[in-house]
């Protein structure tokens, strides 16, 4: 499986670009980038998912980890999630804790 998570910063926004397949074997890479984003005290975490083709519960646990690492007032925005990934997130009720968007917020 191939998976990449790359963290970049733009002002107070942390952007993690996810590519490939986020599964039980690759989720640790995602957690590491979330940890780095949390250390940078961003005000907004954007997860860019348009090149992410697959996500299992290991990825969902990464979202829980992100929500718990970041301060309560830090928004998490998921951009470009495919239908199956968005549906997976909704099935477990995580859409109450993150926002979906078609574009990276200004």
């Amino acid at each position: 499986m191939s998976f990449n998570a790359i963290l970049t910063h733009d002002g107070s926004t942390a952007l993690i670009t996810l590519e490939g397949e986020l599964d039980a074997l690759t989720a640790e890479t995602f957690r590491r980038e979330v940890e780095r984003a949390a250390e940078a005290a961003a005000e907004l975490l954007v997860l860019e998912m348009s090149q992410l083709s697959y996500m299992s519960s290991a990825g969902l646990r990464g979202l829980v980890f992100a929500r718990q690492k970041l301060a309560d007032d830090v928004r998490i925005v998921l951009v470009g999630a495919n239908d199956a990934i968005e549906q997976t997130i909704r099935l477990v009720g995580f859409h109450h804790s993150v926002d979906f968007s078609d574009a990276i917020p200004e």
Binding site: M1, D23, L25, R61, V64, D83, A84
Partner: protein
């Protein structure tokens, strides 16, 4: 498909999931239905590896088949009995993420996205079958 038998350990996951994707292709599943089969299979396989065989080495067997109306994938292991169809730990879906404990999601997801999950314990083995309709 011919049976695949591998050690029940994380290092086997890529090869096990490649088998599942070959099955989806043979069955002509749509992209979305192939996604759900893959998700259900990963969750149940990871569960067997990380819980069933956490402290005891063993093997996990996959067998798959394509029928006119459906595709089935059978997971067979010799870990202690675990019936995912009787597992009632539905995650607290309305609880905010910040208050949730990790885990408890995989079996719930597998049962939700598969058309059917069947289980029997026979001759000392867990036999878990995931069924996806082809249409």
């Amino acid at each position: 498909m011919e049976r695949l038998r591998l050690p029940a350990e994380p290092e086997s996951l890529d090869e096990l999931m490649a088998y599942v994707q070959t099955l989806s292709a043979l069955g002509g599943l749509t992209r979305t239905r192939a996604h759900w089969l893959r998700l259900a299979a990963e969750e149940l396989i990871v569960n067997i590896i990380t819980h069933g065989h956490r402290d005891r080495p063993g093997e996990l067997e996959l067998t798959g088949g394509v029928e006119p109306r459906r595709v089935w994938l059978r997971l067979s292991d010799a870990a202690p009995p675990f019936d995912p169809t009787a597992y009632e730990a539905v995650p607290d879906l309305e609880r905010p993420l910040g208050e949730r404990r990790p885990g408890g999601l995989g079996v719930y997801l597998a049962r939700t996205v598969a058309d059917e999950v069947r289980y029997e314990y026979s001759s000392g083995r867990n036999e878990t079958t995931i069924i996806m309709n082809r249409v």
